[in-house]
């Protein structure tokens, strides 16, 4: 099979994992309207917690991963309760700054707790690759992508069909109007941050398994932005599409351009693309233009 096909398939699968990173971000925007600059750090925290549980504490996989999800949901809800709720009537800028500060705090805290060394996550799935029709995909990537798909469908249903999901969409559209209908925005905010925490746990597990766990994982946080700018800040389907586009851009530039432009180019390519997209469509490819309310 041609190199082109291989690059494309790898790009799509990696893209699903980018979508997982972005999903946590999207859920917070959907449920609380906050642009969260700390999601990358929360993912790193999730990766450390899961690696600590699986290697240091030695709990089995089937217990360790769900336990991490629960822990990170509590962390997410805690962030909302103690860092953001006190600012709930402040400007959006104040909230955004608070998330940036939070990111820095987590970044500083993680090496204090777990040290600087590279840690690993013992994998449930062996480290081989699937070889199908001449295309090779790491098993962990494949199964993670499958999990992401299931998760995305579940979230899609949650937001469009459930009462709480609808309330979350209402809050992100117009929080005052949502409040006027008796929607408890504190509950909605807390739920969305808890969800983002749970998603970060899964993303931390997946990405930590792929890249190893150390503080350099935070670079993943920067890749959330090209994904969500492409896909729209609060669209779940958009996160998938944006993730896949970023995965493809990265995969193809690694395959075709890195030789000429240097090994690091594929890492910055998505960010260059982000700039280009912003020039053409300031609200993203699939994002919604804000309708000015007067």
């Amino acid at each position: 099979m041609s190199e082109f096909t291989q690059l494309m398939v790898s790009g799509v699968f990696t893209g699903m994992l980018y979508a997982l990173l972005a999903l946590g971000f999207v859920v917070v925007v959907k449920g609380s309207g906050v642009i969260n600059f700390s999601q990358g750090e929360v993912v790193v925290l999730g990766a450390f917690v899961v690696s600590w549980l699986l290697t240091d504490v030695g709990v089995p996989f089937w217990l360790g991963v769900p336990a991490t999800v629960v822990v990170m949901m509590v962390v997410g809800a805690g962030i909302e309760r103690f860092a953001l709720r006190p600012l709930q009537n402040e400007s959006m800028l104040a909230l955004v700054m608070a998330t940036i500060a939070l990111g820095s705090i987590i970044r500083g805290l993680v090496p204090m707790i777990w040290g600087d060394g590279l840690r690993s996550i013992p994998s449930l799935i062996d480290q081989r690759r699937y070889e199908w029709f001449g295309i090779s995909i790491p098993t962990i990537t494949f199964w993670s992508a499958v999990m992401v798909l299931i998760l995305l469908v579940a979230f899609g249903f949650f937001f469009s069909r459930s009462r709480l999901g609808l309330a979350m969409q209402a809050v992100s559209d117009d929080r005052v109007a949502a409040q006027s209908l008796g929607i408890n925005i504190r509950l909605v905010n807390a739920v969305s941050w808890a969800m983002a925490g749970g998603i970060a746990a899964l993303a931390g597990y997946v990405w930590g398994s792929l890249l190893g766990v150390d503080s350099r994982l935070v670079v993943l946080g920067a890749l959330i932005f090209p994904v969500v700018i492409l896909g729209g800040l609060e669209s779940i389907l958009g996160a998938v599409i944006g993730g896949i586009v970023v995965g493809l851009v990265e995969s193809f530039s690694a395959g075709y351009l890195n030789d000429d432009l240097g090994a690091g180019f594929s890492t910055v390519a998505p960010l260059i693309m982000l700039l280009l997209v912003l020039f053409v469509r300031p609200y993203g490819l699939f994002g919604r233009p804000e309708i000015e309310r007067v």
């Binding site: 709930q88 009537n89 400007s91 959006m92 800028l93 104040a94 069909r161 459930s162 009462r163 609808l166 309330a167 969409q169 209402a170 559209d173 117009d174 929080r175 005052v176 109007a177 949502a178 409040q179 006027s180 209908l181 008796g182 929607i183 408890n184 919604r288 309708i291 309310r293 007067v294």
Partner: protein, 264 residues
């Protein structure tokens, strides 16, 4: 009966905007609350519905009761569950959600999604235009349709008192009378008590039983609707001069404030 007794409201801890407002809204009636720009009409409604906090406003004195329940210092969701629902000025539909999703969101406190779905038919019977557009994005509706949606959405919460903030805002006269007719029907057929805030005093007093005139944070006049319509002062100040130019400039100030909040 909804009752306000000497209510004072302060914004940002300094600006005293309501200076002792007392009014009574008997159950089953439509009561109009009239007044110029900045008189404090919206503030009065926010004080009742608990929506002052996010505006950094606070009720500092007075009593607000619905039946035997005090609504003061209660959360907006508690107040909605008591059956008191505000329809915000400027419609504020969920622009990115469909008409139907807007209505279902309105039913959030009233019960499950299924029970909310079963009530859609009743809403559509009052607002047939919404039925035709049920899958359309609310942001793309016309102003009049959005106002209908805002009222329909509030109805989904099973209100016993509806606080309507300038439903006629920016609408053509035909639409204003269409919407006011529906409000009157809701009052008559569903027994919904209505507090109707309006600058369009003429239209409001046609369907209201009773009216209050608010000026600079104080009630300056009150009476049965037909009496108020004959009152010389009301005729001059609120029926005759609508102050279109003045209003526009005030709106601009408001928009500016909203943008400023976003930027900090």
């Amino acid at each position: 009966m909804l009752k306000l007794d000497g209510v004072e409201v302060v914004y940002n801890r300094v600006a005293l905007v309501l200076k002792g407002v007392s009014l009574t809204v008997p159950a089953g009636q439509i009561v109009a609350l009239l007044g110029n720009n900045g008189a404090g009409k919206t503030t009065t409604l926010r004080a009742i519905s608990g929506l002052l906090a996010h505006e950094r406003g606070e009720v500092v004195r007075g009593r607000i009761t619905w039946g035997d329940n005090s609504l003061r210092e209660r959360s907006p969701d508690y107040i909605v569950r008591q059956g008191v629902v505000q329809v915000l000025e400027g419609r504020r539909v969920f622009e990115h959600l469909s008409v139907e999703a807007n209505l279902l969101a309105g039913g959030y406190t009233a019960g499950s999604m299924r029970s909310s779905r079963s009530e859609l038919k009743m809403i559509y019977s009052y607002f047939p235009r919404l039925a035709d557009r049920r899958n359309q994005r609310a942001g793309f509706l016309s102003g009049g349709e959005q106002q209908m949606l805002a009222i329909g959405r509030a109805l989904m919460a099973h209100p016993r008192v509806m606080l309507l903030d300038e439903p006629s805002l920016g609408l053509a006269p035909v639409l204003v009378s269409e919407i006011f007719e529906i409000v009157e029907r809701l009052n008559r057929e569903e027994g919904v008590t209505v507090v109707l805030v309006e600058q369009n005093a003429e239209a409001a007093l046609q369907i209201a039983h009773h009216g209050y005139v608010l000026e600079d944070g104080r009630i300056v006049l009150e009476g049965p609707a037909d009496k108020l319509r004959q009152n010389q002062d009301v005729a001059e100040f609120y029926l005759g001069l609508s102050g279109v130019g003045e209003r526009k400039s005030y709106r601009d100030v408001k928009t500016y404030r909203r943008r400023k909040r976003w930027l900090g």
